[in-house]
Amino acid sequence: MRGARSIRGRVAVVGVGETTYYKHGRAPQPEFALALQAIRRACDDAGLDPRQVDGFASYSNDRNDPSRLAAALGLPELRFSNMQWGGGGRGGSAAVGNAAAAVAAGYADCVVVFRALAQGQFQRFGAAPPGGAVSGEAALTFPYGLISPAQRFAMRVMRFMHDHRVRPEAQRAIALASYHHAQANPRAVMYGRPLTPEAYDASRFIVEPFRLFDCCMENDGAAALVLVSAERARDLRRPPAYLLGVAQGSEYRNAARGHNAPTYASASFTTVAPHLWETAGLGPKDVHVVQSYENFTGGVLMSLVEHGFFAPEEANDFLTPENLIAPGGRLPLNTSGGNLAECYMHGLELQIEAVRQLRGESTSQVPGARVGLVISGPMVTPVSSMLLGSGDAL
């Protein structure tokens, strides 16, 4: 797989940018203005004029049209635009992969990956859509109160925890790690709002097995990354974060209707993760820090298993706050606070944090981090994940 058909080391993230992160509905500007601000900040970070951008990639049906962005930014020409299918954060790593593929193939030279959300302007994810009658897949689920994302995915996690005797403390450790890291991060929406084990245990159930703190926030903001070829990256002002590998997809019949996936108790990385490791020529032991999308903590749990960090039967022992917290933990996880406590930027804040770790600029820095893993959107297929490395990792 490696070689001509691997993306390893061929493209780099050279700039990252984000707006202030807001509670949902609190952004002072419309979503499109937030997108422009994040893109401009990412270009500033890279030391590039925004008019050198010639492509856009996004995911989750982002509403901010690439042609309007190109017009607003005065781009001389637009050479690449790409939307990764599907809602949720599943496409965060795939969008980076799509942008990188375009650069590697010569379709474009400088591609921005972005995501913008202003939910005061638009509908929230955690609420049911308005209206009465439903049909198709929804007719198999909505009448029974299986509506919101938490409700759609709780039964996958419940079965996994049953099969492998995973205790609630494993999910709790993931939530505590995110909140712990957010206390060091002034950008985080939950900065200054620490979470204790007692407060977690006392929190209400949203849908068993998920308590309030197992579920992501919903937020307003925008985030962006700039990608160029590895050759060009070496001439820019920031240390490049090289893409070492990216993979997307799902297992056999994952979306069989009415929850009939043969591999049901899964984050859906059972086939994707092996492709990621193969294309990068790396394994879980090579990773120094992980950013793993928390739609729900149980999704993180299964994602880490499927990426090979521990066996399901080891989850209770591995998933402790001490193991997951930077700088000294065995596997520092979600070091900016992630979707639970930094910002639910549909996961793209995780890619930015992975870049910060490689630059040595995280607010919860892992000393000497050279390889970072980002996992996007567990259970919401097609899922995706990616590996970034510093120059030393090549």
């Binding site: 198999l140 009448p143 159930f205 209707r257 929850h259």
Partner: protein, 135 residues
């Protein structure tokens, strides 16, 4: 309630009549649920709707507390079950577990279907719910 393209109409018509129906491939005899236009195993297009035993066992479950729709306010908690039908090739169906919403829910426990008519709806429809039975 039935899908406008007609794919799952026989299921909903069966439920109105108190029958549990799923698809079965005429060629390779594979059971299939949810409905699809072709058989996932042999890709044949000849799919019959067959009546299956309204019995299964709990494959997974969840108890929902947070009302995500205005119609659910003050109706929680409720239990959703994913029921595996051993007598229909192991296909799974979603429904609510009837009875005490705070009851313990053992994975693997046997259940039977309960047909819950909603005659006042336009058009009327019947939901397939589940209740625990003795092993």
């Amino acid at each position: 309630m039935p899908e406008p393209d007609g794919l799952d109409r026989p299921y909903w018509e069966g439920a109105r009549a108190g029958l549990l129906r799923v698809q079965r491939c005429r060629g390779c005899r594979e059971f299939q649920w949810g409905p699809e236009w072709i058989c996932h195993r042999c890709l044949g297009a000849a799919l019959d709707w067959v009546e299956v035993a309204p019995r299964g066992r709990i494959y997974s479950w969840e108890r929902a507390w947070h009302p995500v729709h205005p119609a659910l306010k003050n109706h929680g908690p409720y239990i959703v079950v994913l029921v595996e039908l051993p007598e229909a090739g192991g296909v799974r169906m979603i429904g609510n577990l009837l009875g005490d919403p705070t009851q313990p829910v053992p994975i693997g426990a046997p259940v039977e279907a309960v047909f819950e008519p909603h005659d006042e709806a336009t058009p009327p429809f019947t939901l397939v719910q589940w209740r625990r039975i003795a092993p």
